[in-house]
Amino acid sequence: MSDYNFAYLDEQTKRMIRRAILKGLAVPGYQVPFASREMPMPYGWGTGGVQVSAAVLVPEDVMKVIDQGADDTTNAVSIRKFFEKTAGVATTEHTRDADVIQTRHRIPEEPLREDQILVYQVPIPEPLRFLEPRETETRKMHALEEYGLMHVKLYEDISRHGAISTAYAYPVKVEGRYVMDPSPIPKFDNPKLEMAAVQLFGAGREQRIYALPPYTQVVSLDFEDFPFEASKADHACDLCGCNTSYLDEVIMDDAGGRMFVCSDTDFCRERRAAGHVGAQGAPYEEDAA
């Protein structure tokens, strides 16, 4: 154990954040303002998610951190280390073994359970922000359910590109009431927002927390004649051969060589461990990663 208070934040701050979380859970999709603290990392690196995680962690928890699905990127590694150091909690890369999963821009491929919590890092919590810059006005629009503007954005997409081209941070309506930004997850993940686990969203710079209780109804906005589609690259994973997972495109050389791989590294490794091999994959060896 270190000299830090458990999970870095002082107890009063954690209580304040928990109150915001409870309010968020009580009013799904509603953005609850909270007194976001300075964290020992820059804004944009997950300060909101870290504060929410800190407020929900208990010493017995096992934690997992992913960045765009991967456990091994800088952001994921440094946040994992942060909690190892300040909370002394156990960490894991296995989705199945984690109690709290902090994520940036992805939902794990493996379905989550009721005893798990998924914490999202959110850059801009206000889905109406790019169309209506005034906070006073957007608050009023939420309060009065004036969401026509949200469809204007989708209309513009179709008129310009022939289809709804919004591919991430695709707006959703929660329980038929609040329009919510699901954070910049790919729209492929939108259907998974209706899940068993508790989902918490933290925006540090914007000082907002919002939440989805388990099994909350979450509907992606669309038009009758241009229905929502959860799209992904039309390819199979080159490492594990999975053709239902969300893929990252990796450029291999300067000659146009590229490969598609699962963005969820834990999911991909488990499949390879189970013997699945993709087009460019080698047979799985323990410790190969």
Partner: protein, 256 residues
């Protein structure tokens, strides 16, 4: 016939200064009323109070709502008032950029009010937007252009289309032809006249341009220092003004 819009002893004060005071009138379906007066006469304050943009300090602003009959829009809840603002009421601003979303295409601008009241079929929304662009003489191939690429007159016509697409019953206009060339003005006035007649709109038009009200308004209200000094049939007020201020206003118009 019952009035569509009834204003009773409306007053708005900025501290001890009078914005407008003791304004009362009835507006009937299909009637177009002009409010004229020089800058600072209180006509814009009055219009903003009528349209719910400003909260009046005294008086009532009654509107014959579709379901509830005559309702005081000053005391009704904000959601109800805002709902009126996107359905039965429309507001045409002097500066198109106040009434348009400059970063959204012409079609999106017209479609917004439809989507705001629940339209969710892209094809229908677009077809209606194109139909309305046609009615305000904007070519179909401009539907995906942003208003920033439009001339001043086109922007103003787009604003009118955006406002009228949901079939409002009462339109507020604040100097709708201000700042436009004379030839562009004439075209806009002709268009407005036609739309008012076809749709049976009631309208309240604030302007300082007497030629505009002569063409558009059935009746006239002349304001000075926040007070109504004269009302009546438009041509009667302009041709036989009774109040000294109106006489001055009419005689000050340059003849061409």
């Amino acid at each position: 016939m019952t009035p569509l819009f009834q204003v009773k002893s409306l007053g708005k004060y900025y501290g001890s200064r009078i914005g407008c005071e003791d304004v009362s009138f009835d507006l009937y379906p299909g009637e177009v009323m002009g409010i004229v007066g020089e800058s600072g006469s209180g006509k814009s304050t009055l219009l903003n109070c009528l349209a719910g943009h400003l909260e009046p300090d005294t008086g009532e602003v009654l509107f014959d709502t579709r379901v509830g009959g005559l309702r005081d829009t000053v005391t009704m809840s904000e959601p109800e008032r805002r709902m009126l603002g996107r359905t039965d009421w429309a507001f045409v601003y002097q500066h198109a950029r106040d009434g348009l979303r400059m970063g959204v295409s012409a079609g999106g601008n017209v479609g917004e009010r439809l989507m705001a009241v629940g339209a969710r079929h892209y094809g229908d929304i677009r077809a209606q937007a194109i139909d309305w662009l046609g009615r305000v003489e904007i070519a179909e191939d401009r539907v995906d252009d942003r208003p920033s690429a439009f001339s001043g007159g086109m922007q103003q016509r787009l604003q009118i289309a955006r406002n009228l697409v949901t079939g409002p019953r009462l339109v507020f206009m604040d100097e709708p032809t201000g700042g436009l060339d004379v030839s562009v003005q004439a075209r806009l006035l002709d268009l407005l006249r036609g739309l008012v007649r076809e749709m049976g709109l009631s309208a309240i038009i604030v302007t300082h341009d007497l030629a505009v009200v002569r063409l558009l308004a059935d009746r006239l209200m002349v304001m000075k220092d926040g007070h109504v000094v004269e009302t009546g049939l438009t041509d009667q007020v302009l041709d036989d003004p009774q109040h000294g201020y109106t006489q001055l206003l009419v005689s000050s118009v340059l003849q061409v």
